[in-house]
Structure formats: structure tokens, C-alpha cells
């Protein structure tokens, strides 16, 4: 089967569909709930409070340095759950496959999803497959949904932000956006840069354990990057954000590529970083907790929440000036997730 391609009949609901589910999806994403093949997965959840989210992935190319659409589809949803302070548990995955996609390509993606799910401590318990004719999709699109268990107590959120809260980022920003952009055809750039794509449940757990009650709000700065996340927080909380340009970690390769392409690294997407707002007294402890985890080794304190300039994000430049940091407007970085 591995030299074959996906046919429209693979989505027809007949023998080929069943063979695809059995030989590929069930084989790699194996667990008792999925194996039961019921119309809906029945899962037990500790506690009654759940976090629930969904996300679609249309990244081009399907495979890029540091990841692929499968790893991204697991991480994206797992990380959205983790940012709510939830422990990610179960995922559903829907595949829209273009007729003619090599079977081996699909298998590589599903194997990667299975590996990432194990890494993240989640199981894929429900799924769906549709095949569309050539040109009806670009290779493969994946939608994942996920549920996670929330601990007791006040949920994390923008409403908890207070002036004076410190802002932290868990590592260098922009790796994913630039790695995907460079991997695309047409850009005459070469680099060893890899996507930061990673499941962040463990990192969040380490942070919450170290600073119980002091973490206000978490977000993974995906599309729109750090600038979009901070602007969302500023608008949502009716407070200001102030960050030091020099404190934000950015890899040399990312800076160089951004300089050449006229992009701002603060607008470039991450898929394995988090931004945290923590109470002022807990900032150093939070920083230590992040740095003590392999996925947070490059963490930095980058600024603070302010009562001044509500709704706006102000950047203190290396030259000592202050300027606004706006949401990105363009769509230069389309289809990066």
C-alpha cells in the first residue's frame, strides 16, 4: 500500500475507507477508545471542569524543518488547552485529503501525530477522513479538537491581568514563522533554522506548580506573533503593555531573515513558545521554573503590564526611544499553520 496514492474512493465510506482507517489511522494512533470505532468517543475526565478547543491546519509545505502538519496539528490544539491552564487529555482529528496524495506522505504525517501525542500525553480518540478531488484541497488539511481537565480555582485569563504584572516569554520568538517561510519554494535563503513546534503542557505544569495562584494569563503567540498576543491582551484587559526590545530573545537567523525580507520578528509566529503574565513578586520564580524545563531554557522577562496607554503596546527600543508595537497588518506569512 505504501507506494500508492490516496484516491477519491478512500473517502467513499467503503472498503478502501475502512482499510485506510484500520491500516493507517488505527495502527498509528492506537488506543482502546479509538479502536472501539464508535460514532463518538466516550472518555472519562477527572473533575467536572473541562477546557475545549478546535483548530485547523493548512500549512504549506506539509513538511518543514523542525516539524510537519501532523506535529503542528497536535501541538496547536494541545497548546491552546495548556494556555487555559488545563491538562490536555484527548484529541479528535479530521483529515481533508486531496486525491493523489501519496499514501506514504499521509502515513508520515500520522506517525508524526502519534509520536507528538505520546510526547504531549494525549490520546487521539476520534477522527474523520474526507477525500476531495484534485485541486479541491492542497495535499492535506487537518482539523484537531481537544479537551483538557481544568484544576479547581480561578481559570487563567485576560481578566486577571493587573498593572505591574511582569511579562515573560519562554524562548526565542519567530522560529516557526521564518522556518516555514524559508522552507517554501521561491525564497533564495538557506538556513539551519528549525520550527519551535512543541507541546507545552509540561512547561505550563512546571510554571503553575512553581507559582501557584500567581500566573495571571498565558498565551501561545502563534499567528501574528508576540505583537498580536500583547495587543490582544492590551485590548482585552483595557491596560497597557510595555516591553524592552532588547529583552525579547530572537535568534540570529530569524533576525537576519527578517532584516532581508522586511519583516518584524515580533510579528512572526511561534508554535512552541508561551507568553506569561505573572504577579510582580513571582516573576523571578516563574523565570526559574521556565528555564528549568527543556522547552523554556531561553526564557526571559520582557516587560510589564501598565496602567498607562491602555489598549496599546509600547516598545522601548535599544536606543532608548519608545514607539508603538502594532498588530501586523499584512498577510505575507500566509499558511504557516
Amino acid at each position: 500500500m505504501s507506494e500508492d496514492v490516496i484516491l477519491l474512493a478512500h473517502g467513499g465510506g467503503g472498503l478502501l475507507t475502512h482499510a485506510l482507517i484500520r491500516d493507517l489511522f488505527l495502527r498509528h494512533l492506537d488506543n482502546p477508545v479509538l479502536a472501539a470505532q464508535e460514532d463518538a468517543a466516550v472518555v472519562g475526565m477527572p473533575g467536572a471542569r473541562l477546557a475545549f478547543t478546535t483548530d485547523s491546519f493548512v500549512v504549506s509545505p506539509l513538511f518543514f524543518p523542525g516539524g510537519d502538519i501532523g506535529r503542528l496539528a497536535v501541538c496547536g490544539t494541545v497548546n491552546d488547552l495548556a494556555m487555559a491552564g488545563a491538562t490536555p487529555r484527548h484529541l479528535g482529528a479530521a483529515f481533508i485529503i486531496e486525491e493523489g496524495l501519496p499514501y506514504a506522505t499521509l502515513e508520515r504525517v500520522v506517525v508524526s501525530m502519534a509520536e507528538t501525542a505520546r510526547e504531549a500525553g494525549v490520546t487521539v480518540v476520534a477522527g474523520d477522513t474526507k477525500v476531495v478531488g484534485r485541486g479541491g484541497a492542497d495535499g492535506l488539511f487537518i482539523t484537531t479538537s481537544g479537551i483538557g481537565a481544568l484544576p479547581a480555582g480561578e481559570a487563567l485569563g485576560v481578566g486577571r491581568l493587573r498593572p505591574g504584572d511582569r511579562l515573560l516569554v519562554s524562548g526565542p520568538v519567530g522560529d516557526h514563522g521564518l522556518a516555514v517561510l524559508i522552507a517554501r519554494e521561491g525564497l533564495p535563503l538557506r538556513s539551519r533554522l528549525e520550527s519551535d513546534c512543541a507541546p507545552l503542557g509540561g512547561l505550563v505544569a512546571a510554571l503553575l506548580d512553581a507559582c501557584p495562584g500567581h500566573v495571571r494569563c498565558l498565551r501561545d503567540p502563534t499567528r501574528g506573533g508576540l505583537a498580536a498576543t500583547l495587543n490582544e491582551w492590551a485590548a482585552g484587559a483595557g491596560l497597557g503593555m510595555a516591553i524592552d526590545e532588547g529583552a525579547v530573545p530572537v535568534r540570529r537567523e530569524v533576525r537576519a531573515a527578517c532584516e532581508m525580507l522586511g519583516l518584524d520578528p515580533l510579528h512572526a509566529a511561534c508554535e512552541g513558545r508561551l507568553v506569561a503574565a505573572v504577579a510582580p513578586g513571582a516573576a523571578e520564580r516563574a523565570l526559574g521554573a521556565l528555564r528549568g524545563h527543556p522547552l523554556g531554557a531561553g526564557a526571559q522577562i520582557i516587560g510589564e503590564v501598565t496602567a498607562e496607554h491602555p489598549g496599546r503596546v509600547v516598545l522601548r527600543t535599544a536606543l532608548g526611544a519608545r514607539r508603538l508595537l502594532e498588530m501586523p497588518a499584512g498577510d505575507l506569512l500566509s499558511r504557516i499553520c
Binding site: 533576525r255 536606543l319 532608548g320 514607539r323 508603538l324 502594532e326 499584512g330
Partner: protein, 365 residues
């Protein structure tokens, strides 16, 4: 990062700022010719760091912004030629003409492609020998040599289906129009570094000699710009009008002879329409007769017959912004009807546009 960090050094910047503050006594207003300079000034927050006697204003040096609406309408008509591929640099896709943009033409079925190099258009012509590939040529003397070299290569390789719609422009006629037009006070010009790398710093001597306005050619990093401003202050205080080269690592007095020769082989000066400045004599770069077979306007003349005369968007004051007569926040449409998501005028679209720079970087209170 080499070639960047050394030109952003905070200590060196403070030293230059102190020198400017010590030397500047009378209030001056310097024009950043280049949109690239306007962006760098706002991105690095230089305005507020400068002595209060030194004011900076934007100029006409954003090639996307000065493209007249009528020229865009014709480019959109060319994009709709059946079978054609229209290749252009990214920003042009979203600039409003009189009726729509290249982006809306693309949504309507036209094959409009953003390229990062004119060679990408040549590659598309090779890949699609049965289809005309029309390169929308936008840019000043810094961009045009690459386009000239691409057309020469297409001839050498025998690729017949690459055409150019040249909206290329020359910088000096625009500076003359602003300085000679009156109404806008300019005590110094921050000269365009990339253009001067091609045409030479000496090409800007008319600014000093004919208009008595000092000029300092500048690069695009903070120290480059501050160095140029320091030299302009020095000249303005001494009452001297000369051309200083504050970008010697890229700019020679005579420029780049090979690039200038390529320009001269392929292009000749012709009248051109500028948004905000009107038609300026000998301010455009048209194809020479030897390259008439590459001229999209001639090859697809029938597609252009029907295009009505262009109209600038109602209420848009990009023209005043481009002459330095208005700061972007002074335009009634700024941040209200005109935003980067829904731009009315080109200055809000282009990555070199003054309105886009003000919107994006603002200046925090």
C-alpha cells in the same frame, strides 16, 4: 549580527545625538527623501531623541506611493489580458487605483503574482512559453538596473514572452518639484542611499547648487541617518549648501558605472505622472526603441484603449504627504477611513509609505 549591529550601537547613537543637540541652534526642517528613511526613523524612535530644533518630514521617495492611480488602472487592465501573468513586487498588489486593486483583479481571476526579484518574472516566462508575462516595473534608479539586466538577459536567452510595463521613475525631478514648487520649507535633504549607490552622490549636487539646500546621502540604519542629520545641521548652521556622503560604504561620488550603463542601454527619460506632484518632465524611465519589443503598453495597446482617465481616491491627501506638506496624522482619513487593512491611499499600503510607518510605529506619548 554583522553589518547591522554596528550601525545600531546605542552608545554611538547617543554620541551623535549629543553632537546634533550641541550644534543645532536655529530650528530646521529636513526632508527624508526616501520612504525607507521615514520607516527607519519611526521604527527606531529617532524623532523624539533628536534635539527639539530638528524636525523631520517625509518626502516623495516611495515608488509605490507616487504611482498615479491612472497608471495602476492600466496595470490592472494589463493583468486582465487573457492568458497573461502579471508579476509585481508585493506592495503593489494592494494599492488602490481608481477602481479596484490588483488584489481584487486577482480575486476576479487574473493571474497576479508577487515576486521578490525581476528574475522571477523571467523564470515564469521560461516556464510558460505560451503565455505573456508582464513585469510591472516600479521603483527608482536603485531598482531599475535589475529590471534592465533582466530584459537584456531575456534577449540573450531568446525568451520572447517577457514584457515590461515601466512605471520606473527618476528621483531628481521629484526633488526639484518639491524644492522648486514652493509652499514647503526644506532646510536640508536626507538623500536616498540606494539610489545614490547607482547614480552617485554627485548626482545630487543640483539640490545644493541650484536650490541652496544642503544634502546628506544616508544609509538606512540609525547611525547612518543620525550621521546624515549631524552633517545637515553642521551645514545649515554654517550656511553652507553641499552634498555630503554619509553612506560611503555603499555610495561612491560617481555611483555604480555598470548599473548606470545598464540603465542607459535599456531606458530613456520620459515624462511621467506622479501621485501628488502631477506630470513631471523627464521624470520617468521609458524603454528605449531597441527594447520596444518588450514594451507591454505597445504589445497590449488594445487592452489599454478603454481605460478611463485615473482619479485619485476622494479625500485622500497622499499627495500632500508626499510633498512633505502634511504629516500623516493630519489627514482626516488617517486611522479612520484609511488603515492598513482597508487602505484608501498608497501611503498606507506600501512598506515604504509614510502613513503606514506612522500607523505601525506611531510615537508613544
Amino acid at each position: 549580527m554583522r553589518y547591522v549591529d554596528e550601525y545600531r550601537d546605542p552608545a554611538a547613537a547617543r554620541a551623535l545625538l549629543a553632537r546634533i543637540a550641541a550644534e543645532s541652534r536655529r530650528p530646521v526642517r529636513f526632508m527624508e527623501f526616501c520612504g525607507g528613511h521615514t520607516h527607519a526613523v519611526l521604527r527606531f524612535g529617532l524623532r523624539r531623541l533628536l534635539a527639539p530644533t530638528v524636525r523631520l518630514s517625509a518626502g516623495p521617495g516611495c515608488p509605490v506611493c507616487v504611482t498615479a492611480a491612472g497608471d495602476l488602472d492600466r496595470a490592472i487592465a494589463l493583468a486582465r489580458v487573457p492568458g497573461a501573468i502579471l508579476a509585481t513586487f508585493g506592495d503593489m498588489v494592494r494599492v488602490p487605483g481608481s477602481r479596484g486593486t490588483l488584489e481584487t483583479a486577482r480575486a476576479g481571476g487574473a493571474d497576479v503574482r508577487a515576486v521578490t526579484s525581476p528574475l522571477d518574472a523571467l523564470a515564469a516566462a521560461r516556464r510558460h512559453p505560451e503565455r505573456p508575462v508582464i513585469l510591472l516595473g516600479v521603483g527608482f534608479e536603485a531598482t531599475a538596473p535589475g529590471v534592465a539586466a533582466t530584459l537584456e538577459r531575456a534577449d540573450a536567452e531568446g525568451v520572447p514572452n517577457l514584457f515590461l510595463y515601466s512605471l520606473h521613475k527618476r528621483t531628481l525631478p521629484a526633488v526639484r518639484a518639491v524644492l522648486g514648487g514652493g509652499g514647503v520649507r526644506v532646510d536640508g535633504v536626507i538623500g536616498p542611499g540606494h539610489v545614490a549607490a547607482v547614480v552617485g552622490a554627485d548626482a545630487w549636487r543640483p539640490v545644493a547648487e541650484e536650490y541652496g539646500v544642503p544634502c546628506a546621502v544616508a544609509g538606512f540604519e540609525p547611525l547612518d541617518i543620525l550621521d546624515a542629520i549631524a552633517r545637515l545641521v553642521e551645514m545649515a548652521e554654517a550656511g553652507r549648501a553641499e552634498v555630503a556622503n554619509a553612506y560611503p560604504r555603499s555610495v561612491r561620488p560617481e555611483g555604480n558605472p555598470a548599473a548606470r550603463a545598464a540603465l542607459d542601454r535599456v531606458f530613456c527619460a520620459d515624462d511621467a505622472a506622479w501621485r501628488g506632484l502631477g506630470v513631471l518632465p523627464e521624470s520617468g524611465l521609458a524603454l528605449r526603441p531597441e527594447f520596444a519589443h518588450r514594451d507591454a503598453a505597445a504589445a497590449f495597446a488594445e487592452a489599454l484603449v478603454e481605460v478611463a482617465p485615473g482619479e485619485e481616491p476622494a479625500g485622500c491627501r497622499c499627495g500632500d504627504v508626499l510633498r512633505g506638506a502634511l504629516e500623516p496624522p493630519g489627514c482626516p482619513l488617517y486611522r479612520t477611513a484609511c488603515t492598513p487593512e482597508r487602505p484608501v491611499g498608497p501611503c498606507m499600503v506600501s512598506s515604504e509609505g509614510a502613513c503606514a510607518a506612522h500607523y505601525r510605529y506611531g510615537e508613544a506619548a
